[in-house]
């Protein structure tokens, strides 16, 4: 029950007028960028990183958390009304949600997704509050070898297990490693990968990487795809109030979605794709209205995945706050915000920065309340945002991209790096390479290297530390299974399917 005391203290931090204003600003901005295609929470938080030089850590993390949660709410609106999933996590919402909107039940779809997000977000945030202290107890026993192995596991899951191809995911991750290593090596003071340029001694700023990959790359991609079919906004019809039948069909999927989403999000694997798809499959199986799936749109198929999405978003905060382990691009950029304050997220964070962590968790509860209000009664406002025409939207994104990049050091070199990364981002988008592992590799790679070198220094250069510690060995084994397992399984399946064809030939 210690947690409740901490939470009460957290609310006293979050309920100050200034912090409430930051929360309101964050949630509003988050909803807006969630609604707008082409803008996401990772890019927005990266652009706002300079704020960490101006305000207290509590204020900026309450702002960032509001943006993070808000983007989840806003993203579902776009999925339902435009059928263009703003983020990969809302692909499933678009499946049924857009069908519902087309058959005149858009209001109910928006309502079940907003209320479901609220329910699951609140459950997920409660999960963070109660699970974080438990994880910390375990994490205190971690040495550098265990940390390194845990990071290896996270690298494998975010790049190789999730996503469409492990080779392309790992390529993105390794590209992130290279970008992360540019600059002066902190332990020996040697410059690395600078190509003799003094501008690169400080390394590539995460703002430039995020803006280049997400803003410039995305704009180039959208320009190149102008011939592709355009999605039309489905006008919002139907009451925003759900009927009692719709409530009855929604509440169980919300709870099931939260129960699926939070644990998967909290694992060092992260990712919202798996829980949302899992929730969709389960709801489709359990539903009494199977005929509505894929035809007129089933409300269960919106309620469950939306809940799973928000609960897993909350879950991602557990490894981030307790282990310093980001498993999404947004979490990685939030980690760099911690670094900019000189704070190291890890097991000690909850005790040394109690005000910050518990204030942040409390503000997430408040953000959920604000968001359900912003996204239901005020939904008309956000629908209007969807009508911003593409030319001005993308041109505007580039203007803000320039401000964020050029503002770092007023150096045109930064713009050159931005454009190079933008070109890389375009190619990655065009040829189906995931971009999030680049950001994660760039932020987490140097941390993994530090732990690796620390472990090797303690063991006096003996590699066996990584497999003689049981916990470290377990984590590395899991990582290996994650990397090789799916391929072996696919091979076995392949053989099994081909088997019967070959038998007649042999006979």
């Amino acid at each position: 029950m210690e947690t409740l005391g901490h939470l009460a203290h957290g609310f006293s931090v979050a309920f100050t007028p200034v912090n409430l204003l930051w929360c309101l600003l964050g949630t509003t901005l988050g909803t807006a960028i969630g609604v707008l295609p082409g803008l996401g929470p990772a890019l927005t938080i990266a652009l706002l990183l300079p704020i960490t030089y101006q305000v207290a850590p509590e204020a900026s993390f309450i702002l960032f958390a509001g943006i993070y949660y808000g983007a989840m709410y806003g993203g579902s609106t776009t999925s339902i009304l435009l059928n263009t999933p703003g983020e990969s996590a809302t692909i499933v919402t678009a499946l049924e949600g857009n069908k519902m909107a087309r058959s005149g039940r858009g209001g109910a779809a928006l309502a079940t997704s907003a209320i479901g997000s609220f329910v699951a977000g609140t459950i997920g945030t409660m999960g963070v509050a109660f699970l974080a202290p438990v994880v910390v107890k375990f994490a205190l026993a971690f040495g550098p070898a265990e940390y390194f192995s845990l990071m290896v596991l996270a690298f494998i899951t975010v790049s190789a297990v999730l996503g469409s191809s492990s080779v392309r995911g790992l390529t993105s991750l390794f590209a992130g490693f290279v970008i992360g290593m540019i600059g002066v090596d902190l332990q020996t003071g040697q410059p690395r990968f600078t190509f003799g340029m003094t501008e690169l001694l400080d390394g590539v700023d995460v703002i430039i990487a995020a803006v280049g990959l997400f803003a410039v790359g995305e704009t180039l991609y959208m320009a190149s795809r102008r011939y592709a079919g355009k999605d039309e906004i489905v006008p919002l019809r139907g009451s925003l109030y759900m009927t009692s039948a719709e409530w009855g069909r929604s509440w169980k999927p919300w709870l099931r979605g939260a129960a699926i989403g939070f644990p998967i999000g909290a694992m060092p694997a992260g990712g919202a794709e798996i829980p949302t798809f899992l929730s969709y499959a389960i709801e489709k199986k359990l539903s009494n209205h199977k005929e509505e799936f894929g035809t007129v749109g089933a409300i269960e198929g919106v309620a469950g995945p939306e809940a799973a999405n928000n609960a897993s978003a909350a879950g991602v905060l557990v490894p981030m706050l307790t282990l310093g382990l980001p498993t999404s691009a947004t979490a990685a950029i939030m980690l760099s915000a911690f670094q900019s304050y000189g704070i190291n997220p890890g097991p000690l964070l909850l005790t040394t920065q109690g005000d910050l962590v518990w204030g942040l968790i409390a503000s997430l509860f408040i953000a959920n309340v604000i968001l359900v209000i912003l996204n239901l009664p005020l939904i008309g406002l956000w629908v209007r945002l969807l009508k911003i025409p593409a030319p001005q939207l993308y041109a505007g994104i580039l203007v803000f991209a320039t401000v964020g990049t050029y503002g770092i050091s007023q150096s045109p070199i930064d713009l050159v790096i931005l454009y190079l990364l933008g070109a890389a981002g375009f190619l990655m988008r065009r040829f189906d390479f995931p971009t999030a592992p680049v950001i994660i590799g760039m932020i987490l790679g140097p941390l993994a290297e530090t732990q690796f070198r620390r472990a090797m220094t303690i063991s006096n250069g003996d590699w066996s530390v990584f497999y003689k510690h049981p916990l470290s060995l377990t984590l590395l084994t899991l990582a290996f299974i994650g990397l090789v397992g799916p391929h072996i399984w696919a091979y076995v399946e392949h053989r099994r399917r081909r088997g019967p064809e070959h038998v007649p030939g042999d006979a």
């Binding site: 490693f177 040697q190 001005q392 041109a395």
Partner: protein
């Protein structure tokens, strides 16, 4: 012609994907070159600053070989990506806008350079009302400039537009402050 039959098999080679694989291999080469350039102090001979770069290089080489192999087997592009033609004209205008911004941001200042980029990108995306875009770009660039420069305390390149406005704003603040 029998050669056309033979060409059916090699045509599975996916050229864009192959270029990506080869490009990545070149990147791995650059990583190797830069790693060799890192001076290593004998004090850190066990796990010095070059161990991770070497690991990364090996990883990149393996991955680029796997990508080249995938390209030789027909590539991995989804059908819909292949079928949609690339709009080179729109992309060209976006690139021109970006380069113009890069070249003009120092001589003209952030706002003027941004307006030019905004108009070019809008035009590339198919906007026909250029004059309106100039106005919109100006409003947006000024909002971005003052939002960042004044609120976030970030110093971004001021040109003649910003300097004029800053003088006006300071004058107004001065009048009201006095």
């Amino acid at each position: 012609m029998s050669s056309s039959d033979q060409q059916a098999a090699p045509s599975r080679l996916a050229v864009p994907e192959l270029l990506i694989g080869v490009g990545l291999l070149a990147c791995a080469g650059a990583v190797a070159w830069q790693t060799l350039a890192i001076p290593v102090s004998p004090l850190y001979s066990k796990v010095g600053p070059t161990v991770f770069p070497y690991l990364t290089m090996v990883g990149l080489v393996v991955l680029s070989l796997l990508l080249i192999l995938a390209a030789l087997r027909g590539g991995w592009q989804p059908e819909e990506e292949k079928e949609t033609p690339t709009d080179w004209r729109a992309m060209g205008f976006v690139v021109i806008g970006l380069v113009a911004n890069l070249l003009l941001i120092q001589p003209l200042g952030f706002t003027a350079a941004s307006v030019i980029m905004f108009v070019l990108v809008c035009y590339g995306f198919g906007s026909k009302r250029t004059l309106r875009d100039v106005g919109l770009g100006l409003i947006l660039a000024l909002a971005a400039y003052f939002g960042f420069a004044r609120a976030l305390g970030v110093n971004i390149g001021a040109g003649f537009i910003e300097n004029q406005l800053n003088t006006v704003i300071d004058a107004i603040i001065g009048t009201f402050g006095a």
